[in-house]
């Protein structure tokens, strides 16, 4: 290339450019390099910003101090009390429900230290799992119908002294599970027709997404 250019009748200035050595310094000073660096920094910064914005309101790992140092490790882990014994709403409705104090007093009637119970004032627990108002989530659908273990979403709760938010609780996290999970259709006559139609067209098991589990109005209305 250099030789080819030398053969051409170039002016002095042009020759100087052609013969200038390619050094690290010249690369650093070049426009192309500056552009690439600026672009990469901007792109990375932008990505960090987007990730940051996406995590606004995501409280994975949130483990606030509660008004009573209640330990799931002792109750669910050590004493192996069924989750549903206290969280009675979990198979009935949308909320799993925090037990009312009288449920505590079923066992704690000997200890009788419940100021809340005696004064008829409820305990103000700090809410850990906060879904935005625009998302509808129903525990009964997942636990009673879907047969999902509490730990699938809430993590090893039986090992937690202080409860923390185990999962992301983002829409992506929801959708991901709906894509992967088989519908618990066995013995449930509601799904019979769907299973029959699904098996005609597909060999894989019927996932939640196959029966509209990714549709907007399943959770947003």
């Amino acid at each position: 290339m250099k030789r080819f250019l030398d053969q051409k009748g170039l002016s002095e200035e042009e020759k100087e450019i052609v013969h200038s050595p390619i050094t690290t310094g010249s690369i650093v000073r070049s426009h192309g390099f500056t552009f690439i660096v600026v672009f990469l920094v901007a792109a990375l910064g932008f990505k960090a910003l987007i990730n940051g914005l996406y995590s606004v309101g995501v409280q994975q790992g949130y483990a606030p101090k509660q008004p009573i140092a209640f330990s799931h490790k002792i109750h669910a882990g050590q004493y192996e009390i069924q989750c549903q014994y206290c969280h009675t709403g979990v198979t009935v409705g949308k909320s799993a429900t925090i037990p009312s104090v009288n449920v505590c007093m079923n066992c704690h009637n000997q200890i009788k230290e419940g100021a809340a119970y005696d004064n008829n004032t409820p305990i103000q627990w700090v809410r850990i799992h906060n879904l935005p108002d625009l998302a509808y989530f129903n525990h009964a659908q997942h636990v009673k119908v879907g047969g999902i273990e509490c730990q699938t979403c809430h993590g090893p709760i039986q090992e937690m002294d202080v409860v923390r938010q185990h999962s992301l609780l983002t829409m992506g996290w929801c959708i991901d599970c709906h894509r992967k999970t088989d519908v618990n259709s066995k013995g449930n006559a509601y799904y019979d027709k769907l299973v029959e139609l699904h098996n005609k067209s597909s060999k894989s098991a019927m996932k939640v997404e196959d029966i509209g589990g990714l549709e907007c109005a399943k959770c947003h209305y």
Partner: protein
């Protein structure tokens, strides 16, 4: 093929194509308000944005701490997030409905009809549906008051008992004044009070009085009663100014029965024929087959003429008087031909008119068939004479103590003003209303009763038909059941009205066995119905005297006459502070938030009034010595020479919502022939220059140049040519194959379609049985947390209702026949069409959304995802049905909308919100969701019980509210569902039984705007009028 050449128009501006109308109709959205109307400039906006961004960034650092507070003792039958339902009873004066209250976490959030009641049979009305919001009225009394200051119940009782003892000792007169009291237990409580204070008299009055009917029946049959009517047995119905679908008699029951006779379903081709003679264009008149305009002063004469026609046919003596009216002879002939299945009703509150009506019904053999005198209803027990006498007594200083029991006569009685002025001289004045209303303000003591949803009570709406009311919420404020107050003041101790009602039922109705299970069953059902003995009556009214009285009392005037009516929205005004009713388009005028005087087209032309797009002028209307200033509204179909004004407006102490709207016309009501007369023979009309714009939705969301919106035929046409229904208007699309090859619009599609494997939700709306009452609109608002935007925003064409009822006037004249159009417009016929998201299978909105915020579900729903919507409004622009609503503002928690949107701006109002439905924010589109929250809940119940979903388990709010069953909703994939059977659905392609394309073989089924091929999931059923000729 005979085509339907009728022209449909929503308002006169559409008929005449006024430039304002055309300009507005071509736009999906009215223009944004000019910038100076906004509180902030663009620079302010940028500043706010800058602040907002940093505020968000700061706020994001730490999430707010939210509390989760469980019960101390959880009630066994209450699970958070699971709704409980309680049977109860709605009573508002004499208005009654057996209801089921839906509560969430102890808060009533919705009221539905109770199908176990044989009186209301699961029906509701707009006012019943809206009443749940009145419970959370911010203007309610929070505690008892004495001399304008809050006090405790003990203090109040002490003071009241001392006063009563003082009056009693002096032998002073005590009066308890109320509207109709339906409750036997309440009456028993009042009896206890009377026993203690023997000078007490209980005076009942009704705003919309039926005293004339009671008096007439006393004269005709010896018993002052209001009989039950059975419209379902009537083949010919003649109504002389009785608005029986809205405000006359047992209107919910009437509507139910009437709809049965209007059902044009197969095998039921015998429709009833309905003649209406009236001045104002009522909702009932709009449903009639033949409607004749008369002046209010002619009501009596029409009845006389009808009497004479029938008497001559029956070979009886005629009476003097009468008037010749269009359709009158025909009506009489048909009544006579169908005797035994005929019914004549009249709205007049004049004894004489009603005696003649009784005479007619007697000749027609209606008693025992369409009229059941052995089964009186007790909705109207008011005694006009006693009430007038009471006011005179108070004025004369003869009354020492007055207790206003849940009534407001200072506002809603014609002599209210006099009563109010005279109250000062009464030694004890007390009101038990739950609000400090016009009467309460003038009373020395306020002892607020519970709202009906907080209280135990019972009711006897019809003889031996009993109904229980149970509280659905703990009293919100320091109120006390008025019945308890009566008993406390009577000196009883340990008073508990619940125990009192229970004991009353035990003593009266319990026939042995286990009382607890009897009581539980009554409470569960909400109603207890005991057999009624059959009895016959013999007519002994003096028809000649009645005819003579009519001739003397009513003279047609050369000038204007005034008709005073009760409309279907705010009704008698007792619930006027409920924005759900204020923003509900009045069935006929489609006006909201406004009060107006109606004038006929001809009179408007004479006076030089036009009101294109609701722009009008004020006028002074005077009658019976009172003058009101109201804007003028032209009402097509109103009789010439008549002005019509609704009661229920002009409240001054109702609360923030209703105060200052319109004028009170109760004082314009006079006494004629011993009872209240809701018309005035002479009225003066004086047009003023002051301009005004009425908020009216009638021309909002108008389709331009579309054909298949309404389909209607007459019964005779269909009988002559049954194929007409199928071929009447069947749009075809030409294809490229050759000019002869035409297909139906839905058959050509760019889409391959998809399969709905499980459910395919659909709806059928019967235009024949829809009466236009708009209960569905209120039900939809409450169920779906729809924002109420207020008068100004409705004028800006931004109302948020997901479901609207389009009221079309129609005329038979061809488009170019201007004269013919004008004539037809004088007395047009009306079609009501509920219009909501059609859930199109090929939805035009879905394809234009740039962010896929509106998508299609695998169950046929057109889904709207608020959190995804960025507010481009493309979808609304592309919606052929104009059913999408844009949130122009943040309506919730916004001080600007405090007056209208009380359910979303006040802490107490928010208790009514449905927790399963998102409250939408600014900048997003919304629309009917087919009550997807109810679909999801129904499916979940089925899944939990491991069974298939049963038909009828999932209902939409509008369907539940509909008294006539005009709305059918269900799974179109289920061949045994009600909707599949009604529409006779079959898959268009037999190889794809679950495909989106379904063909409805019911000849009456059609899709609105079928020609555009969007394949809606809502079918309408053609309206069939029982008319002989098509002309209006």
């Amino acid at each position: 093929m005979k085509e339907n050449t009728k022209i449909y128009w929503k308002g006169l501006e559409q008929l005449t194509n006024s430039p304002d109308f055309v300009k507005n109709a071509h736009k999906e959205f009215a223009e944004a308000p000019p910038e100076e109307n906004l509180d902030h400039t663009r620079r302010d906006f940028l500043k706010m944005m800058g602040f907002g961004m940093s505020a968000v960034a700061l706020a994001a650092c730490e999430a707010p701490i939210r509390k989760a507070i469980p019960y101390v003792n959880k009630p066994v039958d209450l699970d958070p997030s699971v709704a409980n339902y309680y049977a109860s009873t709605y009573t508002n004066g004499g208005d009654y409905c057996s209801i089921v209250v839906k509560t969430r976490e102890g808060r009533p959030v919705k009221v539905d009809g109770n199908s176990l009641s044989s009186v209301t049979k699961g029906g509701t009305s707009a006012q019943v549906e809206a009443s749940v919001l009145s419970l959370y009225d911010n203007d309610r009394l929070r505690a008892p008051k004495q001399a304008g200051k809050n006090t405790s119940w003990e203090e109040l009782d002490k003071a009241v008992v001392a006063k009563l003892a003082e009056i009693n000792a002096a032998g002073g007169q005590i009066r308890i004044v109320s509207n109709t009291v339906l409750s036997p237990s309440t009456k028993a409580a009042i009896e206890k009070f009377k026993a203690k204070y023997p000078t007490t008299q209980h005076v009942q009055y009704d705003q919309n009085s039926a005293y004339g009917i009671l008096k007439a029946n006393e004269e005709s049959f010896g018993s002052a009663m209001f009989p039950s009517y059975d419209f379902s047995k009537a083949k010919v119905i003649v109504s002389v100014a009785a608005d029986f679908l809205n405000s006359w008699g047992s209107s919910i029951e009437n509507t139910k029965q009437y709809a049965l006779t209007r059902d044009a379903g197969e095998g039921k081709n015998d429709l009833s024929r309905h003649y209406q003679f009236e001045a104002n264009f009522s909702m009932t008149g709009a449903n009639a087959d033949y409607r004749t305009q008369i002046k209010p002063s002619e009501e009596g004469a029409v009845v006389v003429a009808l009497y004479n026609e029938i008497a001559s046919a029956a070979g009886r003596a005629t009476v003097s008087g009468g008037v010749e009216k269009n359709h009158l002879k025909k009506a009489a002939a048909e009544l006579w031909a169908n005797r035994g299945n005929a019914l004549v009703v009249a709205g007049s509150n004049d004894k004489s008119v009603q005696v003649l009506v009784n005479g007619i019904n007697d000749m027609l053999g209606s008693y025992g068939t369409t009229i059941l005198p052995n089964l009186p209803v007790y909705f109207r027990q008011g005694d006009d004479a006693a009430m007038a006498n009471f006011v005179t007594e108070v004025e004369g200083g003869k009354v020492a103590g007055v207790i206003f029991f849940n009534c407001n006569p200072v506002y809603d009685h014609p002599m209210g003003e006099k009563l109010g002025a005279a109250l000062k001289s009464v030694s004890l004045s007390l009101s038990t209303s739950y609000k400090e209303d016009e009467t309460g303000t003038l009373a020395a003591f306020l002892a607020p009763d519970h709202h009906y949803l907080e209280a135990w009570n019972d009711a006897e709406p019809k003889k031996n038909h009993f109904s229980l009311a149970q509280p659905a919420i703990t009293p919100i404020f320091k109120t006390r059941a008025a019945q308890e107050s009566f008993m406390v003041w009577a000196g009883e101790s340990n008073v508990d009205y619940f125990e009192f009602v229970k004991n009353n039922w035990k003593n009266r109705f319990f026939k042995g066995g286990n009382f607890q299970s009897f009581w539980d069953k009554c409470l569960y059902d909400g109603v207890l119905e005991l057999p009624v003995e059959a009895s016959t009556v013999s007519f002994s009214g003096d028809v000649n005297a009645a005819a003579n009285a009519i001739a003397t009392n009513y003279k047609a005037s050369a000038g204007f006459e005034l008709a005073i009516y009760e409309n279907g929205t705010v009704g008698n005004g007792s619930q006027a502070n409920n924005p759900l009713l204020q923003e509900l388009p009045e069935p006929m005028t489609k006006a909201v938030w406004d009060h107006y005087v109606l004038i006929s087209q001809k009179d408007a032309a004479t006076a030089g009034i036009t009101n294109p797009e609701s722009k009008t002028r004020y006028a002074n209307v005077s009658a019976n010595g009172k003058t009101v200033k109201l804007p003028v509204l032209i009402q097509p179909g109103l009789a010439q020479g008549v002005l019509a004004i609704a009661i229920g407006y002009g409240r001054t102490k109702a609360g923030k919502v209703a105060d200052g709207i319109g004028a009170n016309v109760y004082p314009m009501i006079s006494m004629t022939n011993g009872s209240l007369n809701f018309s005035a023979g002479e009225a003066k009309f004086e047009l003023l220059d002051e301009a005004y714009q009425i908020a009216q939705t009638q021309t909002h969301h108008t389709y331009m140049a579309r054909q298949t919106v309404i389909k209607e035929y007459t019964l005779s046409e269909v009988r002559e040519n049954p194929d007409l229904l199928k071929t009447g208007f069947a749009p075809k699309v030409a294809t490229w194959l050759d000019p002869e090859h035409q297909v139906k619009p839905g058959e050509l599609s760019m889409w391959k379609g998809h399969d709905y494997k499980n459910h395919h939700w659909g709806m059928a709306i019967d235009l024949n049985t829809c009466t236009g009452c708009a209960a569905c609109v209120v039900a939809c608002n409450v169920e779906n947390n729809v924002a109420l935007v207020g008068r100004e925003e409705v004028i800006n064409r931004r109302e948020m209702h997901w479901l609207r009822i389009d009221r079309y006037y129609s005329s038979d004249a061809p488009v170019d026949d201007w004269k013919g159009l004008e004539e037809a417009a004088e007395n047009p016929s009306v079609v009501f069409q509920p219009m909501l998201c059609q859930h199109c299978n090929n939805a035009p909105c879905e394809t234009v959304c740039p962010v896929a915020a509106t998508t299609h579900s695998t169950e046929g729903l057109n889904q709207m995802t608020y959190n995804r919507c960025i507010g481009t409004r493309y979808c609304a622009n592309n919606c052929p049905y104009k059913v999408r609503r844009f949130n122009w503002f943040k309506y919730h928690d916004n001080k600007q909308f405090e007056k209208s949107n009380v359910a979303q701006t006040s802490d107490i109002g928010k208790m009514v919100l449905n927790p399963d439905v998102t409250v939408r924010s600014r900048g997003v589109m919304e629309k009917c969701s087919f009550c997807v929250q109810k679909i999801q809940a129904g499916k979940l119940t089925a899944k939990k019980e491991k069974r298939e979903l049963k038909d009828g388990e999932v209902t939409t709010a509008c369907q539940t509210a509909c008294s006539t069953g005009a709305i059918t909703f269900g799974d179109m994939n289920d061949e045994n569902s009600k909707i599949s059977k009604l529409l006779k659905l079959r898959p268009a392609n037999p190889d794809r039984p679950y495909g989106i394309d379904k063909i409805a073989e019911n000849p009456r089924a059609y899709s609105v705007l079928e020609e555009i091929g969007v394949k809606p999931n809502i079918f309408y059923l053609t309206k069939i009028r029982n008319k002989e000729e098509a002309k209006a």
